[in-house]
Amino acid sequence: MNLALKDIRHNLGRFLLTCLGLSLLLGIVLAMVGIYRGLIVESLGLARAAQAQVWVVEGGTRGPFAEASRLPGDTREAIVAQWGVAAAGAVAYQNVEALHRGEIKRLLVVGAEIGRPGEAPAVVAGRPILRSRYEAIADRRAGLALGERIRLARDTFTVVGLTENLVASGGDPVVFITLRDAQKLQFDLTPAAARREAARTGGAAGTLDTVNAVLVRLLPGADAKQFALGIARWKHLAALTHEEQETVLSRSVVERARRQIGLFTGLLLIVSAVIIGLIIFTMTVDKKKSIATLKLIGAPDRRIVGLIVQQALAMGLISFLAGAALIHAAQGYFPRRLVLEAPDAALLFGIVLIVCLMASGLGVRTALKIDPASALAG
């Protein structure tokens, strides 16, 4: 006969309501962790999709994702001539706001060369870009359909292909166009005075033919680190291996979000612990007479402790499962991508159980201090 379950059944409504409240808290904790994982996956997604081993960027910078990086347009030709290079592609990145169907969309426009590193990875619907002008491949999150047209700055592009889960670290969906279109887009979006100066000098001011990075794929056996070190000797260039690029992205770009999410997750777990502790304490105080009676009859302490700890664990288990189910069901409605990984859920479940055990400490202490003689007192 499990006394904890019997007591829960006796106060089922109150217990389930408590679990419901707690499940919302734990659901939010799980969502926080999921958002953080999603943030990492999203921020690394674009870098990983390029499948480049080395990123050549402007000297003294850490690449286009961390800060502004501008290279002369012919840098690619200089890089591709280096020993060990299998392929190289110049890319340009530009955040734009586009008005589409009466709605302003924030997009990360990636300009890449057809058939070279940096172009759109796996296209899940439609086809790759084949024409050199005015074709685009958009991520599904942009809400664009195949064949749809979207105006970016002064030009209109036709969506010919779709990708999936390819967004910038800020969550903006990625749209691929050709490098030439992207360079024009960057030019069109620069301030009018700079545009006029570039037009007057015929591009001599260097604003027209610039790229943000050159992505390099190496021949088998070539060492990315050595290659990057070699490139870095060129004073106006810097190079990052893919691992360094991921580190930059995860440390620089995601670090603040990680800290914020970590802080909120910690605070929510503390709040959950306090709530569980108070509820278990209240439930124990409510049962004071029953516990005194059990002790007087002869129930050993382990039975009394078991009664309280099992209820705390049941509360944690039910709340966690309900919270996880809730977040799983609501996953698609979150504005950011939620990546729920089994190890994270298992870790959080373990933490919840530990929190429950710790939180039940106050109730256990109270129960053990109950004088069995108090059962006789009227």
Binding site: M1, L3, H10, L294, I297, G298, P300, D371, A373
Partner: protein, 233 residues
């Protein structure tokens, strides 16, 4: 003559020290034979509850000796470490407010004492149903305490006290919350238990209506036990 089930000699208990010291029991000696129903009466603060707590091994006296069912359990100190197990085996408690566990139904309230003593659920259930039947309330076996009348609840509490076949039953004002008729029924049940099971029943009471139901009544005053009055023939 059978050996007394409860035998206490010169038991003293005081609370506090110095000017705040209160002598709750002063060299109290008492014997209760099997099959007898004994009453303990006295004004508030006379030491009745303290004596009941000492016999129930809940409160440690300061001096004296105590034997329960022939076993010396106190001689200046507790001689057994597992006093809860001792209570489970040898003592049944009946409370003024029946103290049924609100989250267990009638038969579970009886069976819980047996389960705490280590019996399997099926055996404990069988025993509980037998006892409920013995007290004529088996039809209420699935009722929760909140659905029981005062008399029914007290009968279930008595059944729980008997679940482990104790040799001693300690009852604290068991009729205080009952009307005369139900109080008489409860006392009849206790008498039946004492007679049929050779159990020693010690009842703390203020209820003058039931004084004639005891074999002996002990009066406590200022922690001292006065000479017992023999009531029943």
């Amino acid at each position: 003559m059978d050996q007394p089930v409860v035998e206490i000699r010169a038991i003293s208990k005081h609370f506090g020290e110095g000017p705040t010291r209160v002598d709750a029991l002063r060299e109290v000696s008492l014997s209760v034979d099997p099959g007898t129903v004994v009453g303990l009466r006295g004004p508030s603060g006379s030491g009745k509850s303290t004596l009941l707590n000492v016999i129930g091994c809940i409160l440690e006296p300061n001096s004296g000796t105590m034997r329960l069912n022939g076993e010396l359990v106190y001689d200046g100190k507790w001689l057994r470490r597992d006093l809860r197990a001792l209570r489970l085996e040898k003592i049944g408690f009946i409370f003024q407010a029946h103290n049924l566990l609100p989250f267990l139904n009638a038969w579970e309230n009886v069976a819980v004492a047996r389960i705490l003593a280590g019996a399997p659920l099926a055996q404990a259930r069988g025993r509980a149903l037998d006892l409920l039947s013995y007290f004529g309330i088996e039809r209420r076996k699935d009722a929760m305490p909140g659905q029981l009348s005062g008399g029914e609840a007290q009968r279930i509490a008595i059944a729980r006290a008997l679940a482990n076949d104790p040799r001693i039953i300690l009852a604290d004002e068991p009729t205080a919350a009952l009307d005369s008729e139900r109080a008489a029924t409860v006392m009849d049940l206790l008498r039946r238990v004492a007679t049929e099971r050779q159990t020693a029943v010690i009842v703390v009471t203020h209820d003058e209506k039931i004084f004639d139901r005891f074999d002996h009544i002990f009066s406590l005053r200022d922690g001292r036990l006065e000479a017992p009055s023999r009531i029943a023939a």
